[in-house]
Amino acid sequence: MELSINCLTKLFGRKLAVDCVSAKLGPGLYGLLGANGAGKTTLIRMLCAILEPTCGEAEFNGREIAAMGEAYRDALGYLPQSFGCYPSYTAAGFLAYMAALKGIPRDRAARRVSELLDALDLGAVADKKLRTFSGGMKQRVGVAQALLNDPRVLILDEPTAGLDPGERVRLRNLLSEYARDRIVILSTHIVSDVEAIADRVFVMDAGKFVMSGTVPELADQVRGKVWEMTVPREQARQWQERVTVAGCRREGGQAALRIVADGRPSDRAAPCEPTLDDAYLYYFGGAEARR
């Protein structure tokens, strides 16, 4: 099973939203990281065959996805960034509707709906109207509908938005388990969402993949560029203005800073183990500065 992206490009008028992006994805969980406006959602919409690329193509198992039509959509599960659900529907009713749209036979659909509602901790509110749901509950309903057809390609655009920490961990675990023999693409701008579970991460900026690799590989790119040091609390703001500060923790009257910088920012700074967050900040902090 392979999803192959071949120089996928999208122009909106004169604005280049996605700029010749290529990748080959086998089974596993892929994190798509990038700031707002980086082109993640546009890329995802093209991968879902909703948006027509200006040029380039995406292929699933060697066949162009748009040409596959229903066959590709049968293999696809998709959660859009912000999705509208019908307020007068119950959670179970909405999922049953989506199951019919996905061509799942009614008896199988009923079982699957029930399974997913339980898995996403929505069983108790299955018969409640969606208008009464919180943002996090709606998001879980969205994840459930994406999983309904047991898709071979699962694409989730900002699935953790609105979820509380417990729900986020539960969702991560669910996706990690799911990605064992399927392709899961998780788009987010929250680094910790992908850090824990992604097999490979693509960092997007200005419509391009600017970094890609496993989490340790990406973190390794900033080895020797991440520092920790303690400063008087009143100096913390000055440091934040001067360098990229990845973390600031109070310790009595002091502030413990985690700094991402090419060179040692101060004699007091000690190198430390880099994370994906640091790599992300290093790139985007630098990109921001370059802008």
């Binding site: 879902c48 909703i50 027509e52 959509r73 999705f83 019908y86 007068s88 019919a100």
Partner: protein
């Protein structure tokens, strides 16, 4: 089929749809039908002419008295019927004309067929007061001359050709004479009401259906639906079919209720009277029941054709408000633009659903298609329905194409 059922249920459970159907029913059936029959159309004349609705709340009883009067002239319309009506009107002490179809008819016929009998010095007094009943002779000859004169005037205006006139006169010659006569008003008003029902339902259909596709985009549900296996063509087909089914159901609800009210209040009598009692220029050899059949088919096909147009507009726009505005523009813009357009453009707009020419069965209009004159009711019933039909695949395409 399952998708159709789900979409149909979704359409009906929308609060906007339910409100729309409720208001539509209240307006057409309760207000226009029930209250109209019992009060402000057929109720007997009230004592205060300054009131907006100067009628009593006694339509059901009043209609019985109108029917009795019509029955007294019943049978056939002969040369003697018009003079008898005038004499009778005077014998009864010059009552009001309100809803007395027979005397309204008599006054109209005198005005149209015997204009020389009108006294210019008594312009503000009804002709029925002073005309000599003995002068009201040769009704059918006068009517024939009136028809030919009108057709000739329209030929000179470029609206009709010699062939058209021959075709229309041939149709007229097939209408049985003398005309049967009786209680005209019930079926006459019902046929006219039905003929215009498609156009009158249009704003309600627009309100309910304009959001079918564009509402999904507005809500943000479109990407979700379109990424599902059956979320493109099959979903679009299900939405289109459920929209058409809704239009048919709303039509059946309003038309069925209206027909039931007519049968209860106005009675079934008069179905076999010729449509010439509606208009002296009617040439079709049809009775009221045939005209009702045409009117039902016309307004139904128009409602369906218009629903299809609304669905197309909805599939092409991203906002329910925009598709609603465009749908309403299709109803009202032709009327607003009429005075500024050349005749051919006016004629073309007439054929855009919802066409409003259902009453052409009472007239003698002709469309020229490929050099051949075709009686307008045939064109008016077919073309808007065909336009609607051609909108359907485009609506499916509008939703299912990638953007």
């Amino acid at each position: 089929m399952e998708l159709f059922a789900l979409e149909h249920r979704k359409l009906w459970r929308a609060a906007g749809t339910r409100l729309c159907v409720l208001l539509c029913f209240a307006y057409f059936v309760l207000y226009g039908g029930l209250l109209g029959n019992q009060w402000f159309v057929y109720g007997s004349e009230g004592g205060d002419p300054t009131r907006t609705y100067n009628h009593n709340f006694d339509g059901y009883a009043a209609i019985h008295s109108y029917r009795e009067l019509a029955d007294s002239y019943g049978g056939y319309w002969t040369d003697d019927t018009l003079p008898r009506m005038v004499r009778d009107y005077r014998d009864r002490g010059y009552p009001g004309f309100q809803s007395m179809a027979d005397w309204t008819l008599a006054l109209t016929y005198i005005h149209q067929l015997y204009p020389e009998l009108e006294d210019p010095e008594h312009r503000f007094i009804s002709t029925m007061y002073y005309v000599d009943p003995g002068d009201l002779t040769g009704f059918y000859e006068r009517r024939q001359a009136y028809l030919e004169r009108t057709l000739e005037t329209r030929r000179q205006n470029g609206e009709l050709t010699e062939d058209d006139i021959a075709m229309l006169l041939d149709m007229d010659s097939r209408a049985e004479k003398p005309w049967r006569y009786g209680w005209v008003s019930g079926w006459d008003s019902e046929v006219r009401s039905m003929a215009g029902l498609g156009a009158r339902l249009a704003p309600w259909l627009a309100a309910a259906l304009a959001f079918t596709f564009s509402g999904e985009r507005q809500l943000g549900a479109a990407p979700l639906l379109r990424a599902a296996r059956y979320g493109r063509r099959r979903l679009a087909r299900a939405k289109v079919l459920s929209g058409l089914a809704f239009a048919a159901e709303l039509y059946a609800l309003i038309a069925g209720s209206s027909l039931a009210l007519q049968l209860i209040w106005l009675g079934p009598e008069g179905w076999d009277l010729p449509i010439q009692f509606d208009s002296l220029l009617a040439v079709a050899p049809w009775n009221m029941l045939q005209a009702e059949g045409y009117a039902l088919a016309f307004s139904f096909l128009n409602a369906i054709g218009y629903a299809a147009l609304v669905l197309l507009l909805s599939s092409l726009t991203g906002s329910g408000v925009v598709s609603l505005t465009l749908s309403l523009a299709a109803v009202y813009a032709p009327g607003l633009l009429e005075d500024y357009l050349p005749r051919w453009a006016r004629t073309a707009l007439q054929l855009l659903p919802p066409a409003s020419g259902g009453s052409d069965i009472f007239g003698c209009n002709v469309f020229h298609i490929l050099g051949r004159g075709v009686w307008s009711p045939y064109v008016l019933i077919a073309v808007p329905a065909l336009i609607g039909l051609s909108c359907l695949p485009l609506a499916v395409l509008g939703w299912s194409r990638r953007r």
